[in-house]
Structure formats: structure tokens, C-alpha cells
Symmetry: C2
Subunit: 494 residues, 2 copies
């Protein structure tokens, strides 16, 4: 393991390869034998599970309830919302048959041609259509609104180029779908859920994000507005980490979801949808980790503290087991997730390298001398700093340190982000500098033509119109020379 | 609602219709527009979620870790384990294409014939094949064992006749898949997980179960032994509520999963798999509920206590809000899930009927006179008994009562089960009595022929060889007259 670890490509050598290797070496996920679909391994899943539980609680605090809608969607549903079909009906897994049978030799199975479906079914790429088709039965009066549902599920989009967590054909996500009586309420809900995502990203993932609204080109298919949180990876590229859509009455009209309002008039319901996915795992890995492996924020780390005894004799081990067992128990009573690793079939050096690779925030080591002196060696993963400290009171010290590490890695990421957002008004300068990464605040005339030109010439896209950037006097479009409508954030992205 | 509720078919009139109506009226689930697939509504999902959380914790306490494997399985995988293919490769949803395109008119989408997959993919009916195909990469040495993985996911089996929760084409479940170095360890794990299921059923679902082992005919396809928990519905029919399989080395061999054992010899890994599904929702509903609606065990009820104020004037409401707000807060501090329903747009009678239908274990009602006298009216859902008691100390009283209700509904179900298990040694008598439901303990010669005859003539099947029934001198097979090998449990089932 120590050797394999050393083999991890350095970020400065090849950032992309470093990421691909790290996901596999840290036991987070691997490719399956189905093209573009991944296996999420126990260690990776344990992180995702903590994300799920935290977000689920945050959703529920805003009144959201969980539901489950079918995996399969009748093909015809996809054509009902005109914009939606353009964006989503294309790269889908299509179920055409419902039975296999043995072949003539009896040694394999073949598709039974007699079991062809009358209408093909699509594995959901997202569930607006099937959910709004059902909402028609649930919504009749303003009293039925708002309807605030969410589901945790798998979805599938047939991607041609895939990367673990960042872009896979099947992925896990949550999709929230709300229905409202008024435009204002729906718009407020879409913004509220973006706030939840931003808050989650900053407090748990320790990832600072830029909040904003997408350009028309980059909107979700069928939305009137798409709000986004954009995070910056260590190569200066953007990763869209969560989106929340104000869908207007598009799905209400497409699926004829009408309700009687307080004035006894019929109206179509207003909609939002919002989602985050296992893509967040990619962001988490890319933002904090280093050439030694993962760096996990304590709030999401499956193991927050690992404790390793160093010993030569069985007697030493016994004494260390006793003392370190006490410390482990005390830490657990403080709500800390501890692993005490006294496994005899691995050397300490191997363990150290492995937990470093896996990003465990704090490592405690005790040997016979420490035991004599009542000291313990502590290493924090974020800075790799080691210190030997008094073993008495170590529990409170570690508890504080975990919060300090959480804050420190957020601050580090925030400093990086802030120092890589550049104002830029000159297209030549932009073209040159964007190659090195970073987010560029540029004046844009608001046309799809300019947007397309930037993308074609630089591979960079308009990530959003940021909320916290003043839009007074946005200046002159750096490409067209026309008066700018907005200052937008432009970057290359994953 | 009060009227609709009255319309619930009585169990004695038509048990099956009562169930179907109740699932829909209590807002648990409904049919979707995809044949055989259901929508799980918020109230139903909230119950399922509690089941999940509880079981997940119980699994983890035995060392199990969660993972996620792909939804789609290459068709060829299904043929690798000879028995498995017979049982599972038939009624499956088959993905043949990966793209849609717009039709010529541009108003609908059609399957793109150019996007045909080289090898068809199957939506998982269960994941042994794909998981063991991956375990080959994870398992090399005895040090990698045991490997204890579980996933919560959706699966699909193309059922011809479906019923909400009991049998749906898509359902939610967990599937555990473990790998071991020895036969003994794998067998013990399979039994251990059955114990977890039985414990969960009894302590949370409040459903007593019979544990046992399936006959060869009823075994999981590819298993050497299938262990089962069988519950009795109120019509005396059995519902298989959870199974745990000892798979021997069948999948180890089919997918070539070999490891070096402690003696440095190569051997195939030993396997188990085990699962419970949304079918448990069906059991929960059918075992406890009555002609007034659901009866939920407090340990799983999303709302344990509902509190309703009765008032005429705004002033009365204000005073009641204050007092009942205090009681609600106090109950919540005791960890009780409370809903305070002072909604003004529904009459108390409507609320009472609705919460009765939804099976909320305890209802508290307070009016102006109660407020004056410091009393409160309490109704328990399991017995429908009402009493007016002192409002001081109501919190502790309710906390105890919830445990009492949990115990009471378990005891009621246990009494029913015990009084409907009959010893029977005569086939004519069996044929007559099995029509009225119940579990029959009968001597069986152990042959598939006898088993098939019983099934063909009575629609009853051998549910299991129960663990807690003595197998000394099992007697004479009631059908063939041959010496019996076992006393088995026979019943009609869902």
C-alpha cells in the first residue's frame, strides 16, 4: 500500500489522472462491467450516506416529504413538454421487452421476441413528467398546495464520456418536485432550495460556492429559470454542484394540473424542481484532497479519528489496548466517529499511509514510551502537522480540533476561490488567461450568439449571473462590443 | 372523508378488497400509469423510511456496510449460475436501445434504430450476478473475508398480476450479499440475518413470525438453503416476509471468486444473500388494521400522537393553542412524534375519521370544558377506547401508553397466530380446513411429488420446516402414506 500510495500521480503532473487514480485507490468507487455505470464501494458509500442524511434532514425542516415514483416512464410522457423533450428525450435507456427465454441449446438466454412492449418505457433521466402526470390526481384546490415532495433514487442518462462520480450513465440523486398556487411562492421555493444547497456545501462539504442564475442556453429543459451553485476545483475549473429550477406553469399545462384558487377560479399549478447527485462526491474529492490522498471534512468523514497502537510485545499491546480503549470510548461519548486499529496483520507504516490516503482527519498514535509519559502523538490530515501532547484531556482537544479542521479546509478553499475570480473586460486577455483556470467576471450582451462564440473559441461557458455581483453598469460586452446586460461568471467546467 | 371512510369495505365482506381500498384511502400508495408499478405517497413512504432506518442500524450493528451496484446487468451474467437463470432470467425488463430521436413530424419521439446495444441489459431482478462478478476483483485472500455488503435499491420483476406493496413489478428493497472463507461461517451468517429479520418484525412491525427453512422446490434459485420468516394475515393466509439464503459456493464458482486460505490453498468463497422489501408494508397493513382503517405500531408510526383542539371562539382557540402547545412540546421532548392539528378548514369529526383511517396510535382532544377542569380526552387507536383523564402528567402517561399499545397489538397478533396453527395428519381433513385459512403442521415425506400434489389440489404450499417444531418422529405423510421426513408448515399464501 505504501508503495501504491507513492504511485498516486501528483496534481501538478496531471490533475485529471490524479483524480481518477485517487477515486479508485481510496476505495471510493470503480467502473463496473456495464459501460459508464459505477460501483460505489463501502467507503465511498459511507460518505454519500452522510450527505444524504444531512440533506434529507435539511429538506424536511423546510416541510418537504419523501415519496417514490416509478423508475420507468412511458415514452409518450417525454414529448408532452416541448422544451423538456429536446433536452432529455435523447440519450436514454429504452426498455422494449419484458421477458427472456432460454436459447435452443439451453446454455444462454435470449430476448423473447413475443414479449415486446406496446409502448416502450424509458429509464427515468429525471422525473418531472411522471410526477406531474400524477400531481394531476393529487391537486384540485389551493388547499392541496403547496405540495412539497422529494425522492432519493437512481437515474440514467446515456453518457458517451464518463468519469467516476462526475459523469456516469447511472447516478444516485435526490429530485425535489414542488407545486404551488402562485408564481411568487414557486420562485421563492426555487431560491430557498438553492440556499439549502449552498448552506450544505459550505457547512458540510466545506466547499464555498458561487450562487447565481443560468443563462437561457444553460437552463434546464423546461425551466423558466435555473439557479445554480458553482464550485471551483483545484485546477480552477467550475463544477456545477446543485441546481434548482423555477418551472413556471410549463409542466402544469403539459400535464393539465389545474386547481381552484381562493377566488374560485381555475389556474395551472406552478412548479419547481431541484437536485443534487453523487456528483457532489467528485466535488468533495477534487476541492480538498492532495498528493497524499483524500482530505475529508470532519462533518462528513466516516471515520473522524483513527487510533493506532505501536508495540513490540504482547504485554505492551495489552497495556495500550486498555489505555486507548478508554480514549476511544471517551471520544465516542462525545459523538466522535472513532476507529481503533490494533490489527496485527498490518504494519503501522502501512496503516498510516492507508488512513492518509483515505483522508481520516485526525490520527492518534501511542507507543510504550508515550504510555509511560502519558503522551500521545497527533497528526491532522489537512496540514499533515504532527505534535506530541498530553494524553490527559485529549478528548476535548480532539473535539475542538475537528471543528478547527472543518473551518480550516473551508477557509483554504475559500481563499483559493476568492483569489481565482478575476474581473476581465478584454476578450484577448480572457482567451489567454482562461487556459490557466479560474472564474472570470465579464460583461455579456445577453445574446446566445456571443455565448456560443465564447464556448467555441475557449471551451469556457457562462456558469451563471452571480447573485452577489452588482449588475449596475455592467459595461461593454468583451466579445461583441455591444452594451452588456449582465456581468457573468465564465469558466471552463467539468 | 367521514363518508368515504364509511365506504371502506369490511374485512368480513371481502378481505382482499378491504386491503386494496385501505392502501389507497389511507394515502399509502397508488397505481402509476406504468403497469404494475406503484407510486409510494408521503404517508406510506414515511413508514417505509422508518423501517429502512431501523433495519439499516440493525445490519450495521452486525458489521454490514452499504454499497451501490449498477441497476443494469448484462444479459450474459444471468446465464452463469445454472439454477439462478431458471428462476430469475425470465420475467425481466430488457433494455435494448440507448437513444430516442424526434419523429419526422417533430411532435413525438421514437426509438432510434441505430442506437441498438450490442448486448442487451436487464434491469436487476436481484443482484447476485453483478455483485459476484465484482467480488472476484475484491477477494483474493482470507484476509479480505468476510465481506459484508448491503444495498438499498429498486428492483424489477415483470409480474403479471400485481397488488400494491404485495406484488409489484418494481419494488424497493435491501439486498445483503456476503462472502465467507468457510461453509460454517456463511451458514451462520444466513441464520443470523434471519434472526435480525424476525427480531425486527416482532419488535417494530409487532408481527409474530414463524422461522424455518424452505423446501427445495421453494428455495431461491441458486441457493442450497433458503431461510424464511412467515407471518399470518388476518385471513389466515401466510405472507413470506423476509428470506435469507445460504448460497454455498455456487456463485463463487460461477464467477470464479477464489481466495487463498490460511493454509495457503485456493478455495471458492462461500456466499449468503438476504432481503426484505416494501412487501413488509403489506404485512404491516394486513396484520393489524381493522374496518376503521390502519392500525400502526407506535414504533413505526410517522405520527404517534395527534392533538386536536375543539373550540367555538377565537379566544377559546387561543387558550387551547397555548395549553396544547405546551403539551406538544413536552411530548416532543420525550422523543414522541406529535402532530398538533388546529387547522381551521376541517371539522373535528373529519379530523377524527382521517387520523383513525391513518392509524395514528393515540389521539388527544381538548375543549373549553377540559381546559377549565384540567382534563383531556384520550383515544387509543388499537382498542378505540376513550377516556377522559387529568391533563397534568399526560406526557408520561402517553409515553407509557405507546409502549403498551405496541405490546398489545403484538400480543393480539400472536394470539391470533397461535390459535390458527393446527396439527393435522389427515389429508381429507386438511383439504376441508385449509379453505378457512390457518397454518397446518403436517407430516411430509420430503418429495417434490407430494408437495406438488398438495399445491395443485389445495392451492396451499409448504411454507417451511419450522425451527421450533420437534422433528423427532414426524409420523406418516398425510398424502402418500409414506414415512414422513419432517413436520412442515402448510398454508395458502400471498
Amino acid at each position: 500500500m505504501a508503495k501504491e500510495l507513492k504511485d498516486l500521480t501528483k496534481r501538478s503532473t496531471d490533475y485529471s489522472r490524479w483524480y481518477n487514480e485517487l477515486v479508485v485507490k481510496a476505495d471510493l468507487a470503480e467502473q463496473s462491467d456495464v459501460r459508464g455505470c459505477m460501483v460505489i464501494k463501502p467507503y465511498g458509500y459511507a460518505i454519500w450516506e452522510r450527505m444524504q442524511q444531512t440533506l434529507d434532514q435539511m429538506f424536511k425542516e423546510t416541510g418537504v416529504q419523501n415519496v417514490y415514483f416509478p423508475l420507468l416512464i412511458p415514452k409518450s410522457f417525454l414529448s408532452k413538454e416541448a422544451e423538456h423533450v429536446k433536452g432529455f428525450a435523447k440519450e436514454c435507456a429504452v426498455v422494449t421487452h419484458y421477458r427472456l427465454k432460454s436459447n435452443e441449446a439451453g446454455d444462454a438466454v435470449v430476448v423473447d421476441p413475443e414479449a415486446r412492449l406496446e409502448e416502450e418505457l424509458i429509464i427515468r433521466p429525471t422525473s418531472e413528467t411522471t410526477i406531474w402526470n400524477t400531481y394531476r390526481k393529487w391537486i384540485h384546490s389551493w388547499r392541496d398546495l403547496p405540495l412539497l415532495c422529494n425522492q432519493w433514487c437512481n437515474v440514467m442518462r446515456w453518457e458517451m464520456r464518463t468519469r467516476l462520480f462526475l459523469r456516469t450513465s447511472e447516478f444516485l440523486w435526490q429530485e425535489g418536485h414542488t407545486a404551488h398556487a402562485t408564481r411568487e411562492e414557486a420562485e421563492a421555493r426555487a431560491r430557498q432550495m438553492l440556499e439549502v444547497y449552498a448552506d450544505f456545501a459550505e457547512r458540510y462539504l466545506a466547499i464555498p460556492v458561487v450562487q447565481g442564475v443560468k443563462s437561457e442556453t444553460e437552463r434546464f429543459a423546461g425551466a423558466l429559470d435555473t439557479y445554480t451553485i458553482e464550485a471551483m476545483m483545484q485546477d480552477g475549473k467550475a463544477l456545477q454542484s446543485g441546481t434548482s429550477h423555477f418551472l413556471g406553469q410549463n409542466f402544469g399545462k403539459a400535464f393539465n394540473v389545474q386547481f381552484v384558487d381562493k377566488e374560485n377560479k381555475l389556474d395551472y399549478a406552478w412548479a419547481t424542481s431541484w437536485g443534487v447527485s453523487t456528483r457532489l462526491m467528485g466535488a468533495l474529492i477534487m476541492v480538498h484532497s492532495d498528493d497524499n490522498g483524500l482530505v475529508l471534512p470532519p462533518h462528513l468523514a466516516p471515520i473522524q479519528v483513527v487510533i493506532v497502537p505501536i508495540y513490540k510485545t504482547a504485554e505492551e499491546l495489552e497495556q495500550l489496548n486498555k489505555r486507548l480503549g478508554e480514549i476511544s470510548d471517551n471520544l465516542r461519548q462525545l459523538g466522535i466517529r472513532v476507529k481503533y486499529d490494533n490489527a496485527e496483520n498490518k504494519r503501522p507504516g502501512f496503516k498510516f499511509a492507508d488512513y492518509e490516503l483515505k483522508g481520516v482527519p485526525v490520527r492518534l498514535v501511542m507507543g510504550p514510551n508515550d504510555l509511560k509519559n502519558n503522551t500521545i502523538e497527533l497528526m491532522r490530515r489537512d496540514t499533515l502537522e504532527k505534535e506530541t501532547i498530553d494524553a490527559t484531556g485529549i478528548e476535548a482537544y480532539v473535539k475542538n480540533l475537528l471543528e478547527e479542521i472543518q473551518t480550516n479546509i473551508f477557509t483554504k478553499a475559500k481563499t483559493y476561490l476568492d483569489s481565482h475570480i478575476f474581473e476581465c473586460n478584454n476578450y484577448d486577455e480572457f482567451k489567454e488567461r482562461v487556459k490557466d483556470g479560474g472564474f472570470f467576471l465579464c460583461p455579456w450582451d445577453g445574446t446566445a450568439e456571443t455565448e456560443a462564440q465564447i464556448k467555441a473559441e475557449t471551451q469556457a461557458t457562462i456558469r451563471c449571473v452571480p447573485f452577489d455581483v452588482s449588475q449596475d453598469n455592467p459595461g461593454t460586452d468583451m466579445v461583441s462590443g455591444k452594451p452588456a446586460k449582465y456581468r457573468v461568471l465564465i469558466a471552463r467546467s467539468y
